[in-house]
Symmetry: none
Subunit: 412 residues, 2 copies
Amino acid sequence: MKAVVLAIGDELVSGQTVDSNSAWLSRELGLRGIPAVRHETVGDDRPAIREAIARAAEEADWVLVTGGLGPTADDLTRDALADAMDATMHLDEQRLAEIRAFFEKRCRTMAETNKQQAMVPDGADSLPNTAGTAPGVLASLHGARVALMPGVPHEMTEMFRRSVAPALPDGDGAIVHRILHTFGTGESDLGGMISDLMQRGRNPAIGTTAKAGRVSIRIVARGETRSAANELAERDARELRSRLGERIIGEGDETMASVLGDRLRESGETLAVAESCTGGLIGKMITDPPGASDYFRGGVLAYDNAVKQSVLGVRADTLEAAGAVSGPVARQMAEGVRQSVDADWGVGVTGIAGPGGGTEEKPVGLVFIGVAGPEGTEVHRHVFPGDREYVRIRTALAAMNYVRVGAASAAT
Amino acid sequence: MKAVVLAIGDELVSGQTVDSNSAWLSRELGLRGIPAVRHETVGDDRPAIREAIARAAEEADWVLVTGGLGPTADDLTRDALADAMDATMHLDEQRLAEIRAFFEKRCRTMAETNKQQAMVPDGADSLPNTAGTAPGVLASLHGARVALMPGVPHEMTEMFRRSVAPALPDGDGAIVHRILHTFGTGESDLGGMISDLMQRGRNPAIGTTAKAGRVSIRIVARGETRSAANELAERDARELRSRLGERIIGEGDETMASVLGDRLRESGETLAVAESCTGGLIGKMITDPPGASDYFRGGVLAYDNAVKQSVLGVRADTLEAAGAVSGPVARQMAEGVRQSVDADWGVGVTGIAGPGGGTEEKPVGLVFIGVAGPEGTEVHRHVFPGDREYVRIRTALAAMNYVRVGAASAAT
C-alpha cells in the first residue's frame, strides 16, 4: 500500500508559492501506515496534469492531488482527470446548489464561471467543500483511488479530514515518526556513532538532517499496529538517548530555548544576556516560548563599545588591549550582566558576524561566548562557518547550549 | 528551453520537512527565462532517484537536484546519478582536500565517511561547496545538463550562484519578477487601491501576499527580451510607488530593517531600543543587515520590571499606577534608553504577547510603543491579533516603521 501526492499550479512550479500541502498530506498518510513515495508538482497544463495523474495511478494505490479546482480558465485538474479516465463530465446538481448557497450566505451572486466547479467525471464521486467553493472528486483509475482536493490549505485539510481520510484503508500496519534533536556534533560524526542503526532496510528507518548546528534524527517505525510501531520507535529513541546523552537536546516540537527554559524552571535559576554580534537574537529566542519571564530577567544589547563600558562595566583597558571581540571582553560582559541584572546565569557574546570586519587574526565567524554561573565563569571560542545569519544563529544556539548543560548539572 | 527541479530526501517525501529549495530554484530559473515545468520529490532510495533523474533528463534541458549529498549511508544522489549515467565514480582529490580543510579550519578531524562526498561520476565535474562539506556535481545525461546541489538551503543557494547560474544559457524570452513591500495597510484595502492593475491576463501580472502586517506586491512581467520585460515591470513599479507613497517600505531584498538603516545612515542619526515583550527581536531585526553598527548603539532587554527600573530609570510609582504594560512606561523606557545609551532615537516597547497574561482591560496583543526622538516623544497603542509570534513580529515592525517615517522627515 503506497501513495503519490501531486500538487497542481503555475504559482507552485514557477516558485511563487511554496507547496506545503504535499508535506501535510504525507504526514497524514504516514500516520495511517500508507507511505508517500513521491511528490510531483506540475503547472496549469491539461496534458501535463493528465500524465502526472495517470502515471501516479499506475504506480500507487492512492493518489492525492491538490490545486486546480477553482472557477477560472486555468483550473484544469477536473478536466485532466476526466481525460485520464477517458470519461465525459456531468454537472453535480447538489454541489452546484452548495456553491450557490455559499455565495448567497455572503450576500453575493454566484458567477457563471463557478458552474464548472460542480462538474464531475462520469463514474466519479464529488466531495463537498465546507470551507470554500471548490468541490473535490474521488475516482478510480488503473486500480488506484484518486482524490482531487482544493489547493487552499484550510479547504484542503477540511476536505481531507471529512471525506478523504474516512475512505482511506488501514495501510499495512502503521507508521510512527519521531524526531530527536541534537546539538554540537557534526552530522558525519553523529552518523558514525549510530551507523549501525542507519543501515538501509532496517526497521525503524533512521535518518539525519542538519540545520545550523542542530542535527535532527528521524525515526520512522513500521509495525502491524500503531502500538507495535510506537514500541519499536521507543526502543530506538531510548538507544539513541543512551548513546548520545547530552548531545540530544530534545524531541519533536522541543527547541533549544524550550528545553533551556524547562531546565531553568526546574533549577529555579534566572538568566540574563549581554549581546553584541547577535544584537538581540539570544533574548528573542529565549523569549519565544511562552512563560519565559519565569527565568529570563533581561539583558543588554551592547552593540556599541561605549554601551559595553557604561552599562556592563567592561574595562576600557581590556577593550584596548584585547579588542572588543576577545575572550576577556566576553567574560566581563557575562559577569557584568549577571551582576547588573542580578541573575544566576549571565551570558556574554561578542564576535564578528560578517560579512565585513574580519581580519587574518580575527576572521568572520570568530565568536567568544562567556558564561558566568554560580560556579564561576567559562569562556568559549568558536569560528563558525557560513553567512551572517548562520553565524548569528549558531552563536545563539551555542550560548544557550552552554547554559542548558550548566543548569542541568546545577539541578542534579 | 525548460527545466525540471528534483528534491531528494525521506524527510521531504514523508512530510517531516517542507521543500523550499525547489521554489527558490524555479524563481531563479524564471528570472533567466528558463521555465521550470515540473518539480518532483523522491526519498533516499537509489533506484527511485536514478529513475527521477533519468526521466527528467529526457524531458528537460536542465535538471536541478537538491539533497542526498551528505556523508551518511542515506545520501545516495551521487550514486544514483552515476547509475543513470552508467558511469563509475572516482575520488576528486581537490574536493577531498577542501573537505579536509573545512574540518581543519574548525579544529576538527574529517570523519572517514566524509570521503564519499568527494566521489564524482566519471565524465562529470564536481562543484565546490564554499559553505559546507558536500560538493556538487554537474553532468550531462541524455542531452540535458544535470546539477546536483546540497539540500541545506544556504549551501545550495551559494553553490547555485557561484557554479550553476554561470553555466545556465539565456532562455526563450524573459520573465522579470519584482516585488514591492508595503506596511500598515491591509491586503483588501490595498487591493482596492490597485484593482485595475490586478486584472487577470494583464501583463505584467500583479498579485499580493500578506504576512505579519506587510503586504507584498508581486510584479511578473513577460517580454521578448530581458530589457523589454524590465521596462514593463519598471512602469508598473513607478505607478505603484506614485499611488502608495510611504506605504511602500522597499523592494526586493529590502526589509523594514534595511530601509530604516539606510535612512538613519543618511540622516546621520543613531538608535537604541528598550524591549520588554519582544525580548530582543527588535534589536535582532535591526542588526540583521550588515553594517548596522553605523547607526545601532544597542539597548536594554527589560523583560523583568526590576530591570526597567534599575537600568532604564522607569519610575516605581508609574509601574504601580499604570502597570508595566502602559503608555507611560513605554514613554519612560524610550526616553530612558535614549538617554542612557546616548542615541538620537530611543524606542520603548511593552506589551502582552500571550498566550497567557491577558485581562479584559489589557488583552493579549495590547502593545505600547514609545518613540523618543530629536523632536520629542510619541506613544502609540496597538492591539494586534494573532499568536505570540505574530504579536511580537508585528510589534517589532511597527516600532521600526515609526522610526523609519520619523527619520525620513528628519532627513528632509
